[in-house]
């Protein structure tokens, strides 16, 4: 499954890079297709194997320049990747006959593309004056790059160099990098045996369109024999390469990391990381125990133990705590993955959605390098997919309509991520028609979500929030892609699960932006520790807006709800003790923790604020299932376990009873 995804990722680069795929990208794609074929064979997935094989075949021909990389080829490859992923997902169950047929058809299509006319013409390589011995050791790929160099009417150079044995493996990559702007290193061949046992000789074949001066400048400080490998002129062409009429065109360079770089990452089951994380938690408890012992031994009046023992114990304990910190942060880092994992999948999807919807658009993805907890990245793909599909289907207008409106024919869709403190903000922005407030009000009234009177009072954020209500959809036609108004509802639910926040900004005729704010990790969290009726709870700090003291003025009671005024604005007050049906405590002075998600705010009345803490959170577990109002369990150290409040659920529960929103039949 991941191999298929990596394949898709490289393919997206190919699509982005125009029709002229760089050799590095093609090689990478080819490698992924090859491993996929092997894996499919290993698991006896016949259909998948045939498909992967056909893909590999086609890619091999592209790589060696025997087939041309054209739009239909890219499309076919892109669809193949999707098919492969579906096959991989279905691999567990019985192979679906429909899927199997689709795979068969795709194989035929790929084979047809691969068997397209080969490039004809005499092999330009014969014109190159290379010794037969050298010709023999060249691989097919190297031959292809040499041909390509000649085809571009660049020169092939040979560079004989001698390096010292102790640093040659560093010198070459450095040289390749220095040469990148002016030349491509096509082959690295062992050179003549050196007379000096401390050094080693190599012969490099370079392809370059730059003149000798520039080449020499780039080669410095490495010195050696540089010579043009002469190529006999084609009879019809008079001009010599070297002075190119095309201008300073550089050759595509292989900047792609080799296989060795790929091997530096290790895939780890997230469950194993969790287990390690728990081990750290246990160690922490031991550390706390050690500290208690040390404190006990150091206490005045203790006779039995020498005080030095206590001091030693304390020192050891501090050492251990430091190591634990390092281990814990290392583990958290290991959970982080770049957002590009999901961005690339989405780019492919948008491309297809746009084609199916007959829209013309450019998708700009930025910030793919921003890293987030693996679990969050995985959960994000659904909400982002819905937002992008919505933008393609309902946001961006048809090309003709855009022209009529005086907008550029091609729509612009952007997907951008940026870190912001301990959070990441992801924005999906389009330059389409924007959200029609009047239409939203109308639907809200039709669906009985708002009274006509209330609807006209609502604007901006609270109005847009209605879009996230289950079943709400303003699109006049239901497209096959966006489904039936379930999209934004899913977005909201998924985000709440990740303690994320969504904001909407829109201008009619100008466009819409959805902004998602997410925590960096779910495993570690900063919380506000509060006390309610003798119980301790943690409130995720990212949900806390502000903290107030409950004034002497009694709250206004409306129905069974209490409302306080904060800077003149009404705020719904939720007494946690009452919500959780706890025995009331006689706290002299209550505090109000104002929590918020998106545009919603409520005040949580608590007895006491105990401070802030960094907590390692754990899910409630499968046996218990969801507990209303509780998101997780956290360990505060010294064997104190507290419950972490689910701000989104408490908000939802409190606001469900809010008078302005007409009661829906439930």
């Amino acid at each position: 499954m991941e191999t298929a995804e990596a394949l898709g990722r490289e393919l997206a680069r190919l699509e982005g890079g125009g029709a002229d795929g760089s050799p590095g990208t093609l090689n990478a794609i080819f490698r992924h297709a090859h491993s996929l074929k092997g894996l499919a064979a290993l698991y006896g997935q016949g259909g998948m194997e045939a498909l992967a094989h056909a893909t590999e075949d086609l890619l091999d021909r592209l790589r060696l320049g025997r087939a041309r990389l054209s739009e239909p080829v890219v499309d076919a490859l892109s669809e193949t990747v999707e098919l492969l992923q579906r096959l991989a997902a279905a691999a567990e169950a019985d192979p679906d006959p429909v899927l199997r047929d689709a795979a068969g058809e795709q194989v035929a299509r790929l084979e047809q593309l691969a068997s397209g006319p080969e490039r004809v013409g005499s092999d330009p390589l014969h014109r190159l004056d290379l010794s037969p011995a050298l010709r023999r050791v060249l691989t097919e790929y190297e031959e292809h790059r040499l041909r390509e160099t000649l085809r571009r009417r660049a020169l092939v150079w040979s560079f004989a160099v001698r390096w010292r044995l102790d640093d040659f493996d560093r010198r070459l990559p450095e040289l390749v990098e220095r040469l990148a702007p002016v030349a491509e290193v096509i082959a690295t061949l062992p050179g003549h045996a050196p007379d000096d046992p401390e050094s080693i000789c190599f012969e490099l074949l370079l392809g370059s369109a730059a003149g000798e001066d520039r080449l020499r400048a780039a080669l410095a400080p490495d010195t050696g024999q540089l010579a043009v490998v002469p190529a006999r002129k084609r009879r019809t062409r008079a001009e010599l390469p070297g002075s190119l009429p095309e201008g300073p065109r550089t050759l595509p360079m292989e900047t792609e990391g080799s296989l060795h770089a790929a091997a530096r990452t290790v895939r780890v089951d997230i469950g194993r990381l969790d287990a390690l994380m728990n081990a750290v938690g246990e160690l922490r408890l031991i550390a706390a125990g050690l500290q208690r012992l040390a404190d006990g031994a150091l206490a005045p009046g203790v006779r039995q133990l020498p005080r030095a023992f206590g001091a030693d114990l304390l020192r050891e304990q501090r050492q251990m705590a430091r190591r634990l910190d390092a281990l814990q942060s290392g583990l958290l880092d290991a959970r982080m993955v770049p957002l590009s994992q999901v961005f690339e999948r989405l780019q492919r999807l948008v491309r297809r959605a746009a084609r199916d919807a007959g829209k013309e658009l450019d998708l700009l993805a930025r910030g793919g390098e921003v890293e987030l907890d693996k679990l969050i990245v995985e959960e994000l793909s659904d909400p982002l997919m819905h937002l992008l599909r919505n933008a393609v289907d309902h946001g961006i207008e048809a090309p003709s309509e855009r022209e009529r409106l005086g907008k550029p024919r091609r729509g612009r869709l952007s997907l951008a991520a940026r870190p912001e403190g301990s959070h990441v903000v992801i924005e999906v922005r389009d330059d389409g028609r924007g959200i029609d407030s009047a239409r939203v009000r109308q639907v809200a009234i039709e669906r009985g979500l708002l009274s006509a009177h209330a609807a006209h009072a609502v604007t901006g954020g609270p109005l847009y929030r209605l879009l996230f209500t289950p079943g709400f959809s303003t699109a006049r036609s239901i497209s096959a892609l966006s489904g039936r108004g379930v999209g934004l509802d899913v977005v909201h639910t998924n985000l709440a699960r990740l303690s994320g926040v969504i904001d909407v900004e829109s201008a009619l005729g100008v466009g819409t932006a959805f902004r998602l704010t997410l925590p960096l990790t779910l495993a570690m969290m900063r919380g506000l520790i509060v006390r309610v009726s003798g119980r301790t709870y943690a409130i995720p700090l990212n949900g806390v807006v502000e903290i107030l003291a409950l004034g002497s003025e009694p709250p206004r009671v409306v129905g069974d709800q209490e409302i306080i005024a904060v800077r003149g604005m009404p705020l719904l007050l939720v007494r946690l003790a009452r919500l959780f049906r706890l025995p009331p405590a006689e706290a002299p002075r209550q505090n109000v923790v104002v929590v918020g998600l998106a545009q919603e705010r409520v005040g949580l009345a608590v007895d006491e604020l105990l401070g802030q803490a960094d907590m390692v959170t754990k899910p409630l577990g499968t046996r218990l299932g969801p507990v209303p109002g509780i998101a997780a369990v956290a360990d505060l150290g010294n064997r104190r376990t507290v419950l972490v409040l689910d701000v989104a659920a408490i908000l939802g529960e409190a606001l469900k009873k809010e008078p302005p929103r007409a009661a829906r039949s439930e």
């Binding site: 006896g44 070459l172 296989l259 009726s533 003798g534 218990l624 509780i630 369990v633």
Partner: protein
């Protein structure tokens, strides 16, 4: 502390150095085909091992294989608005494990124990009380019992047909004592 790093041999360095794209493709990891784990058929059993424990005056038992761990009972973390028989949860080395009042679930007690929440609202935990952490289809679940007796090897023939509630899987006699065999999955 660190062992001195051995510099890579010349051969190793050369191998990386002279690497060319199409010489070699990554070797494939050899994975065992799925579903081929060694499966050992359980031998035909004549006896059944159960763990017997006391609830009030009666003695109950559950299959020993389902018991993951026996813990000395302790105060639990309270779950707000929990429905009985859920008593609370405990953090079992990182796995949040719910603990249920077995006596209440079996209808042997009217009122749930108060073993979670702040100290002043709790009743003291009886010295003999234990929590049996059992395996269930949806993860570990703790069962609060009054006391643990012992492991009993019951000949299959000695187990009688169940009676007395859906959770009971059989009745066995041992001397003057009656053992009620239960299925934790069905109790909860």
């Amino acid at each position: 502390m660190d062992a001195p790093r051995r510099p890579p041999s010349l051969a190793e360095r050369l191998r990386g150095f002279l690497y060319r794209p199409d010489e070699e493709l990554p070797p494939l990891a050899v994975l065992p085909p799925p579903g081929d784990e060694a499966r050992v058929a359980p031998p035909a059993e004549e006896v059944r091992e159960v763990l017997s424990f006391g609830l009030g005056e009666a003695t109950y038992a559950l299959p020993l294989g389902l018991v993951l761990e026996i813990l000395r009972a302790r105060a639990l973390v309270e779950i707000p608005r929990a429905d009985p028989p859920l008593l609370g949860v405990l953090d079992l080395r990182g796995t949040v494990t719910p603990v249920f009042d077995l006596a209440l679930a079996l209808g042997l007690r009217e009122r749930s124990l108060l073993v979670s929440g702040p100290p002043e609202e709790r009743e003291p935990v009886p010295r003999e009380a234990r929590i049996l952490v059992t395996r269930t289809a949806t993860g570990p679940a703790g069962l609060w019992v009054d006391r643990v007796r012992d492991v009993v090897r019951l000949p299959l023939a000695a187990i009688e047909e169940p009676r007395g509630g859906p959770a009971v899987t059989g009745i066995a006699r041992r001397g003057s004592e009656t053992l009620v065999l239960i299925d934790p999955e069905r109790v909860l």
